[in-house]
């Protein structure tokens, strides 16, 4: 990881604010200055409506911010947006290739849009494109979701950008394709490309050097996944019983429980600060007082999602 305070950070974001409609809360409301270092894989994580796409569009010079600014390779997104557009690779969330053109035609078109030949930067996309090669003549509209995303990635890479913006590239993609895509990103990062990627899946954040956890237009935390997790100091328990629905209600009624939320097939609870309890105590309480059967309580290590749920309240 190369988080530099140096002047040549490829991306500097300075208190960007964007409101779409008057009397509406701003879609993006960032405070302070944030830098993304060269060769960094930066993840923006947050639920739908957190402002990820708007932030991307501002950085990609597609949307003008109300206030604040950002520098891309030292160029201002307001003044120098034309120049920025030559160094940027941008892949929007929506599938945005031409469904009536074939795989090869799409790639050729996007290469020539940037004045490049496919062969010049073929090395960069070879690992991704080799999976598409058998379908070269197929229309892009007839590809599967994962294949479409691979093609879109190829098209946004074909001009060898120094910075790559990917807006939710894994939404609507099957798990194995998602893994492949993250492997591809890791390779690109290794080649020195600065990559900013957004996702609504918390489990993907581990693949990033740093993540910015976004909620309602602003960052709740910006740090490496490991640091965010180690910064989580509270006790966390996972609770299961035979009647999960009633269990959630009962857990929330316990005074010592600060937060309780569903996490996969169990409920996670965080105790209020200053209160300590052993898992056995909670288990006994639930079995005796609330009459639950088959209660399993385990103390667990926090994941990023637990951190996010906890950060939310601040």
């Amino acid at each position: 990881m190369e988080v530099s305070g140096s002047e040549n950070s490829p991306i500097v974001i300075d208190s960007l604010v964007k409101t779409y409609r008057k009397n509406f809360p701003p879609a993006v409301h960032l405070t302070g200055r944030m830098r993304i270092g060269r060769g960094e894989l930066f993840g923006i994580i947050g639920p739908d409506g957190a402002g990820k796409t708007t932030l991307f569009r501002m950085l990609a010079t597609l949307v003008t911010p109300d206030s604040g600014t950002a520098l891309i390779e030292g160029m201002d997104i307001l003044r120098d947006y034309r120049k920025i557009r030559t160094v940027l690779g941008y892949m929007p969330g929506k599938f945005s290739l031409y469904p009536d053109l074939s795989v090869r035609e799409n790639l050729e078109f996007f290469a020539s849009v940037f004045g490049k030949d496919i062969d010049v930067n073929y090395g960069l996309i070879e690992d991704i494109y080799c999976r598409l090669k058998p379908f070269e003549k197929r229309k892009a509209g007839k590809l599967s979701g994962g294949m479409k995303q691979k093609l879109a990635l190829c098209c946004s890479l074909i001009h060898s950008p120094s910075i790559l913006f990917l807006d939710e590239p894994t939404t609507g993609v099957d798990p194995s394709s998602r893994r492949e895509l993250w492997d591809n990103l890791a390779q690109l990062k290794a080649s020195g490309m600065t990559i900013v990627v957004s996702t609504a899946y918390m489990d993907e954040a581990d693949r990033c050097d740093r993540v910015g956890m976004m909620k309602a237009g602003s960052f709740l935390a910006v740090d490496s996944p490991a640091d965010i997790i180690s910064g989580f100091s509270r006790k966390l328990f996972s609770v299961r019983s035979d009647d999960m629905f009633r269990l959630l209600k009962d857990l929330r009624s316990i005074a010592a429980v600060d937060k309780c939320y569903t996490f996969g097939d169990s409920h996670h609870i965080i105790l209020k600060t200053g209160i300590d309890a052993a898992p056995e105590e909670i288990c006994r309480y639930l079995t005796v007082k609330s009459g639950h059967s088959g209660v399993v309580v385990k103390e667990i290590k926090a994941t990023l999602e637990d951190c996010y749920m906890n950060l939310e309240e601040r």
Binding site: R85, T86, L101, F109, G115
Partner: protein, 374 residues
């Protein structure tokens, strides 16, 4: 420049891949031309003529033969009385009847003159008046020759009455296609150029590919210009198609200069492309673009271009409004060049106005064009 051609190539691919739309674009003008040219014609055809003539007058029978030979009329036969003629007309056996007075041919050369009545079924007043006009022109021209001969033989006799000599300028056979062809051209070219371009640009906005294109070094205005070239080509193909159909199928002659006719059409095509570009710069969805081009532009083209209703009979306010319709100027210029065959200096007004309109539309579109999303 290479980027630009890549765009143009892509647009052509879009058009050729969408065979159905392409077929409609090429087929629609063909169908319209054929429909307006043949089926929906205001000309009269196959009119059945009945005759009431008291005596087997030789000149009358020769006249009927001539009428029967014309492509509009068929001689159905003689009827003994006016009642029978009315009966035949009610039954639909005849549409029009000629009633000659007693001793018609002998009185023809007498100073009192002879009389013939033309009785027409006026359920369709348009047809009836046209039938009457045609018949009277045939009759008068037929007897004029006879009378001139008679007059030459005995100039002293002052017979022969004043016969009106009608002449239909530029369209002697009153063919409706003369009127419709320029109108259909105005309609179709506007449809292809403004509707198709604006929809195809807005489509890129809707599907999100515009986002990717904007975040590229290509000058955004080139994205739009590249869209126009293929539709310009399609419009030219349609133009040639219409002209070929007009000349060889409808047999409407091109009286004036071919060069100026094509030039006027090209100016109009560019003007329509400008409208499409302006629409695409303003709207965000395909459905709105379709509605604007389809309803706001096409309907006035039909109503106010003089294609269906003569402008002169409209209230002054609407006549003023009609001056704003680009198609009105195109249709007028085409009528003048194609049908009347006037030299180009009589259509300079139309050409200048259309050029000015094209410049305004393009300027507005470039000003309105946004190379960002908001």
């Amino acid at each position: 420049m290479r980027e630009f051609f890549a765009f143009v190539r892509k647009e052509f691919l879009h058009i050729f891949r969408d065979t159905r739309t392409l077929l409609v674009l090429i087929g629609l003008p063909t169908v319209l031309i054929v429909l307006f040219g043949f089926a929906i014609s205001t000309e009269i055809r196959n009119v059945n003529v009945g005759l009431l003539s008291s005596d087997g007058d030789l000149p009358v029978m020769r006249l009927m033969e001539e009428i029967d030979q014309s492509e509009y009329f068929t001689f159905k036969g003689s009827y003994p009385s006016e009642d029978r003629i009315e009966e035949a007309m009610r039954r639909g056996q005849i549409d029009v009847a000629l009633i000659f007075g007693k001793g018609f041919s002998s009185r023809l050369y007498s100073p009192e003159g002879a009389e013939v009545a033309i009785v027409a079924d006026a359920t369709n007043p348009n047809n009836a008046s046209m039938e009457v006009m045609y018949l009277s022109s045939i009759i008068s021209s037929y007897f004029r020759d006879d009378m001139v001969m008679a007059a030459m033989m005995s100039p002293s006799a002052g017979y022969g009455s004043l016969v009106p000599n009608l002449k239909m300028m530029y369209n002697p056979q009153l063919k409706s296609s003369y009127n419709f062809v320029p109108g259909i051209m105005g309609l179709i070219l506007m449809l292809i150029c403004s509707l198709m371009t604006s929809v195809s640009i807005v489509k890129e906005k809707e599907t999100g590919s515009m986002e990717v294109l904007l975040v590229s070094p290509v000058k955004p205005i080139n994205i739009v210009l590249a869209k126009m070239i293929p539709y310009f080509v399609v419009a030219c193909v349609v133009l040639i198609n219409i002209l070929l159909l007009t000349i060889f199928v409808l047999k409407v002659p091109v009286e004036g200069s071919f060069f100026w006719m094509i030039l006027v059409s090209v100016i109009y095509i560019v003007l329509s492309l400008g409208i499409g570009m302006l629409v695409s710069a303003v709207v965000r969805t395909q459905i709105i673009a379709t509605l604007i081009c389809g309803v706001i532009f096409l309907v006035p083209v039909m109503m106010f271009s003089g294609m269906l209703y003569p402008l002169e009979s409209m209230p002054a306010a609407l006549q003023w409004f009609a001056q704003l319709i680009p198609a009105k100027w195109f249709i007028e210029a085409m009528r003048k060049i194609m049908i009347e065959g006037v030299p180009v200096r009589y259509v300079t007004n139309e050409i200048l106005i259309m050029t000015a309109m094209a410049v305004i539309f393009f300027a507005a579109a470039v000003m309105k064009f946004n190379d960002k999303l908001d």
